[in-house]
């Protein structure tokens, strides 16, 4: 049934609801992390309104955690700007990747609206769409994660005792379970994808566990893994183009 949905085009409503559905697991993970962010803000005396404003306008984890930590310690605007920017540089790669999977005629305002929703998770899930990523699908996909992220922040910042620790701990893994559901099935059928996963996992663990690399931020770790593993695979297993025909 799902493969038929992927093939069907032009049905805006169907695309939108498929996006909404795919957004549920992202939303669950975001509630949990957003909750932690909200708690961090109020524990440091920031108003819950500021916490929610940050989550609504930034919609990113590592970048806003780092930026907010700098606000709390009274960092300069330049320092805050550069740190957040560097952590978020990886979004350029993702945005470029999505630009190759949308209808080339898609209008600039629609592209600008979609851009707001490019997070690691939304990107990862949207890229498993067969064929083009439609505007309706992407909007559907964005909505629940945005609500989950801001809502989780609001709950964490206001009613700290509302969500018991044991539920929060368990929800923390939701997002990673979803990632595994995205990367493992294609790895079964495509040897190159399996290698990309193996190479990226190895580099990621080396960067994480070898003390020499401990100064590298999570944003840079992702960039290094992405560039290294994808470059190796692109050289060894170049993809055969089949999209020109139906472009």
């Amino acid at each position: 049934m799902t493969s038929k949905i992927n093939e069907a085009n032009t049905d805006i409503k169907e695309d939108f609801f498929r996006g909404l559905h795919n957004g549920i697991p992202i939303c669950l993970g975001y509630v949990s992390v957003g909750f932690t962010f909200g708690m961090m803000c109020t524990e440091n005396g920031l108003s819950f309104l500021v916490a929610v404003l940050i989550s609504l306008t930034n919609l990113t984890s590592a970048g806003q955690f780092a930026g907010t930590a700098l606000i709390i310690s009274g960092g300069s605007l330049l320092e805050i700007g550069i740190t957040t920017f560097v952590i978020n540089l990886r979004y350029m790669l993702m945005s470029l990747s999505i630009s190759q999977k949308v209808d080339m005629a898609l209008s600039i305002p629609k592209r600008m609206l979609m851009s707001f929703g490019i997070t690691d998770e939304i990107f990862g899930v949207s890229m498993q769409t067969k064929g083009n990523i439609s505007f309706a699908y992407f909007m559907g996909l964005m909505i629940l994660p945005i609500l989950g992220w801001s809502g989780g922040t609001l709950i964490g910042a206001t009613a700290v005792s509302l969500l018991p620790d044991m539920v929060r701990s368990a929800l923390g893994i939701a997002i990673y379970g979803m990632f595994l559901a995205v990367i493992i099935p294609p790895a079964r059928t495509e040897r190159a994808v399996a290698w990309v996963i193996a190479i990226a996992a190895a580099i990621s663990c080396i960067l994480y566990y070898v003390p020499f690399f401990s100064g590298i931020s999570s944003g840079w770790m992702i960039i290094i893994c992405a560039v290294a593993a994808s470059s190796i695979a692109a050289v060894l297993w170049p993809v055969v183009d089949d999209e020109e025909a139906n472009a």
């Binding site: 930034n58 919609l59 805050i80 470029l96 190759q100 893994i173 990673y176 379970g177």
Partner: protein
């Protein structure tokens, strides 16, 4: 104890953060309006999502719960369900359930 903030500074900093987060997301998608023809770049972009998601999952998943035992249980359940081509939601909730059960069981064990 309560820290006092200059909210002019805080709001300006939030605006700066929002801007430098949006710009890298917006520029390539908005202005790259033709197909890239380089086979290397196309292949690179094809593999990149898998590399990004792997880098985000490992080893972070091991530290995503209150203890590594429950995280490993969640990881194993997620890998098995994903290998069987279950939906994203099923895999995510399966991992959550495994973590929840293991943490409840561990809570009863004499340590």
């Amino acid at each position: 104890m309560e820290q006092m903030y200059n909210y002019g500074y805080v709001l300006t900093a939030v605006a700066v953060m929002a801007l430098v987060t949006y710009i890298p997301r917006m520029i390539p998608l908005t202005f790259m309006r033709k197909k890239i023809t380089s086979r290397f770049v196309r292949s690179f972009l094809y593999y990149m999502p898998y590399a990004v998601l792997t880098a985000m999952t490992l080893p972070a998943i091991l530290y995503s719960t209150s203890g590594m035992a429950s995280a490993v249980a969640g990881l194993i359940v997620a890998v098995i369900l994903a290998y069987r081509n279950r939906s994203l939601l099923t895999v995510a909730l399966g991992a959550v359930a495994a973590v929840f059960v293991v943490e409840r069981v561990l809570a009863f064990l004499p340590m």
